[in-house]
Each structure stands twice: as C-alpha cells, then as structure tokens.
C-alpha cells in the first residue's frame, strides 16, 4: 500500500486485497471531503456495472454518521436497512451482508470502505480489528501519496512557469527587433522633418507628437529587452539595505502626497554582495510604485531584509496594505503586458522578474483580495567577484 505514490493506485489495491482477504464478494472505497461535500476518490472491486451505475451507494449522511460512531457496522438486512441506498439492486447483485468500515483523514475528509458479502457470516473480532488496521494504514498511505502528488504538481507548475517565462522572453526579444526597425524609419524621418516645417503650425505639432510617441515606444521596447534577460547585470559590491534606502528616497514624495507610512526592518546581517545596483534599485522602485498604487491614502508599506538559506541568500520582503490581488492575477503577475492598473504597461514586474532571474534569484508574490500583497525577493549572497570573462562583457568594452 505504502509503495505507491498515487492515491488511485492505493485505493485499487485496498478494495482488491480487502475482497480477497475477507473472501468477500467485493468492496468499494469512497472518500468525501466534508468541507466541500464533494466526492473525492472512488474505487470498486467485484461489483457489477449495473449496481455501481445506479448512483452513489453511500451517501454523505451515511458516511458522516459512520465516522461519528467510528466503529465497524454490520448490515444484515439488505432490504430493510436504511443504510443501503439501493436495496433492490444490491439484492439482485447477490449481496446479502455488508460491512461498513469508517476511515478518517485529517480533520475534514472522511471515507468509507464498504465490503459486500454473498452470504451472512460471522466476522470475528480479529478480522474486524484487521479491517480497522487496514483502514488506518490506508489513511496514512493516502496522506503520503497526496503529499507527493501535491509536491509533484507544485514542481510541474514551477517548470511550466519557468518555460512560459523563458518563451515569453524569447518572443519579446524577437518582437523588439522586428518593431525597432520600422520605428527607426519613423523616428529618422519625423525627427528630421520637424526641422523643415514652419515653427508654428499643425505640421510641427503633429511631428512633435510622432517623435515623442516613437521615443516612448523605444522606451517600452527597451524594457521588454530588459525583461528578456539579455542585459547582463553589471555587478559590483553593494549593500542591499543601501539600495533600498535609495529606492525609498526616489519615492519619498509619493509617500508624502499619499500619506503612506513606510516601516523598515533592515537586518544588520546584510553584508555587501556582488549585484547590479541600478537593476536592483529598479526592482525595488517597481515594487514600491506598485504598492503605492495599490493603496488608498494612509496605507502602510513594510520592508524587511534578512539572510536566508544559512546565510547563502538575502531575502527582501515588501508588504503593503493595498487592495490585494485575486489568484488569477497572482498567477500572471510577472508576465509582460499583464496589468491590473488602468494605465499600466504591464512591464514593471516583468522587468523586475528578468532582473532577479539575471541575479540567479527568485521573486514571489503573495496576496488575497482586500488583504494587501507581499513580494519576496531572494538574491544569492555573492562575496567573490564574478569571473574575468563576465567582467569583460560587463565593462561594455573590449
């Protein structure tokens, strides 16, 4: 039972082995989630299709009652016992006696192992004890398998997310190139024509707008390229606490205007590390701007730094009391062009994600609607200078 890592497989084994060991006609296994009142798992062995297709042979009420009593119940009177949902069909199936064995999982989920016999018989206390032991073992095995399934699903989700972000990054780089070429034509001509039209007039005004908007597009595309991880970080020794201080200075005015209080808990353990100061500052400014925009007047931002992973990484946490985000938004928050703001480009967090990835770090978001949001940035603590080869590129010259 414990050898399997899939819940379905465990249940199949349980119903099959129980039937075999008790020399029974068959068995079914069913687990209900009492919180959602939904059928969660199901397995059957030795019973005809006709009977099984009839419907759920053990109702919510029967299962909860069984678990409340927490003991094995024997049903001898198939046609008369209210616990039998479809007595006629059960009788026709050749069922003459039923054993209901309760099964508890955690606090909310309960289940039933129902064993069917073709004849009345005495079930010894030993056998009943054995069945209780099977049920207990079954709970443990299901718990273990569920945990493994959950881990697997988290891992799959992570792999999918990484693959998606990398594909978006490549796409962004491709788009950037394709768009920069036509933009080059527009900017070259418009910036030149502007000098050849009368100083006052609609042509000048129109050309001004074209030049301005094209330069704006250039900025957006540069941000896209930043996200696509093609801008290698220019790493120097810097203290993350100082960078947070600089980011806070930049936004000082915004905090004052919106009456936002900022609380910092910056650990003195944060020693200098090799990182791109400007890029990290950009990440923190982006996170702070988002926090400011998510809050009404009088909100609160908390920033906390600490060392993690036994001193191998730096954790920086930004917490706000803003409007929070629904799960659907949270899943897509780092995708380029995804935004929850009316006037956002959807690039701030995408660029931040790219920068953190470039630092071999990680950025995660936690939020619930109405309950604020928190972003955790994790950056490895690097006290040795980067390799010579990388340094050559970082200096931007041969």
């Amino acid at each position: 039972m414990h050898a399997s890592t899939h819940v379905d497989e465990i249940l199949e084994v349980v119903v099959w082995k129980t039937t075999e060991l008790l020399d029974a006609k068959g068995a079914i296994f069913r687990i209900l989630n009492l919180k959602t009142e939904q059928l969660e798992l199901y397995a059957a062995h030795g019973l005809g299709k006709k009977y099984l297709e009839k419907g759920p042979v053990s109702s919510y009420r029967i299962i909860t009652e069984l678990c409340r009593q927490n003991e094995i119940i024997t049903i001898d009177d198939i046609m008369g016992d209210p616990r039998v949902q479809y007595p006629q069909e059960a009788w026709e199936e050749g069922v003459r006696m039923i054993l209901d064995i309760p099964l508890s999982l955690g606090n909310h989920v309960v289940g039933i192992l129902r064993v069917y016999f073709s004849e009345h018989r005495e079930i010894s206390k030993d056998k009943k004890d054995f069945m209780v032991a099977v049920a207990q073992q079954c709970s443990c095995a299901i718990d273990k398998a569920r945990l493994i399934e959950k881990q697997q699903s988290l891992y799959d989700k992570l792999v999918l997310h990484t693959a998606k972000m990398s594909a978006i990054g490549r796409m962004a780089a491709g788009i950037a190139h394709e768009i920069n070429n036509p933009l080059a034509g527009i900017l070259l001509y418009s910036s030149n024509m502007i000098k050849k039209v009368p100083e006052d007039g609609p042509l000048k005004e129109g050309l001004d707008i074209i030049v301005h908007e094209t330069i704006r597009c250039r900025g957006i595309i540069q941000e896209l390229l930043d996200f696509s991880r093609e801008r290698e970080p220019k790493k120097t020794l810097a203290n993350i606490n100082d960078i947070i201080g600089k980011a806070l200075n930049i936004l000082e005015n915004e905090f004052r205007i919106d009456h936002i209080s900022v609380e910092t808990d910056l650990s003195e353990e944060m020693v200098s590390s090799f990182l791109d100061e400007n890029q990290m500052e950009q990440v923190f400014v982006n996170l702070l701007i988002n926090a400011v925009e998510a809050m009404d007047e009088g909100g609160r931002i908390r920033i906390k730094t600490r060392l993690g992973s036994e001193g191998k990484c730096m954790k920086i946490e930004f917490e706000d009391t803003g409007c929070g985000l629904p799960k659907e938004a949270l899943d897509r928050i780092f995708e380029p062009f995804f935004t929850t703001k009316a006037k956002g480009t959807g690039l701030g967090l995408a660029v931040s994600y790219g920068i953190v990835q470039n630092h071999m770090g990680d950025i995660r978001a936690y939020s619930e609607p109405g309950k604020g949001a928190s972003f955790i940035v994790e950056i490895p603590l690097i006290q040795q200078p980067p390799s010579e080869e990388t340094k050559g590129f970082e200096n931007g010259a041969p």
Binding site: A173, N180, A184, L188, N192, L225, F393, G396, P398
Partner: protein, 129 residues
C-alpha cells in the same frame, strides 16, 4: 570638414533612404545596399570613409562584413546599427573594430552626432582624400 563617402547597408530600404536624405543634406555622398553580398562588393570596389552597417542582414551576419573590412580595408570606419542591442553584441562588434554603435530606433541628431564623431576621427587620421 571634408564631406565623406558613406555606404549604408541595411535590409530595411526605409532606413537606407532616411540615412541618405539626412546625410546627403550635410553634403556627404551616400550609397545604399540591402544585403551583405552587395555591401561587400561595394566596399571592395569603391573607397568609402564610413559604413553604416546593420548587423542583422538577410543573407549573412553583418559581423562577417566587420571581420572582412578589418582585414582588407581597416581604414574604413564602421558604425553598427541594430534593432536588438545587447551588451554582448555591442562588445562583439567593438572587438571586431566597429567605430560606434547606433541602437535602432535613432533620431536624425543621434545619427548626425555619430557620423560627425567618425568624421573627426577620419580627419584626424588624415584619410579623407
């Protein structure tokens, strides 16, 4: 300063025409071509002072032109243009002897400034004939 003989190599005709219009107004002589092969033929046949080179061309990598020019006509100044500028690509181009780098899109003033910088360098090296 003496006007220059300039070759623009870009598969985007609009960019070739734009550069021609802007630079010819300053008195320079401009030729344009759209492929790596045409570009190399022109460079070998005529004496240019300056080449404006897109490093992403349809028939070959513009970096190839940089390599060949460095060996065959090292006196030519090359300004590299690209719509996809990364530090790595800039460094590679500079290592191959590019004089300057113009990330697309650029304004006429940015183009003129880069060409003027090249002009001073050409004049300084006494190569304007």
């Amino acid at each position: 300063m003496e006007p220059l003989k300039i070759l623009v190599i870009d598969d985007e005709q609009v960019i070739c025409s734009g550069c021609r219009m802007i630079l010819s107004e300053l008195g320079h002589t401009i030729d344009t071509c759209n492929t790596c092969k045409e570009g190399l033929d022109a460079i070998r046949k005529l004496d240019y002072h300056l080449v404006l080179l897109d490093i992403k061309l349809p028939d070959s990598d513009g970096m190839e032109i940089l390599k060949i020019v460095r060996v065959e006509k090292s006196e030519i100044h090359i300004i590299v243009m690209t719509g996809y500028a990364t530090i790595r690509s800039v460094v590679s181009a500079m290592r191959l002897g590019a004089f300057d780098y113009l990330p697309k899109p650029f304004t006429d003033e940015e183009l003129i400034a880069s060409v003027e910088k090249a002009m001073k360098n050409v004049a300084g090296s006494g190569k304007v004939q």
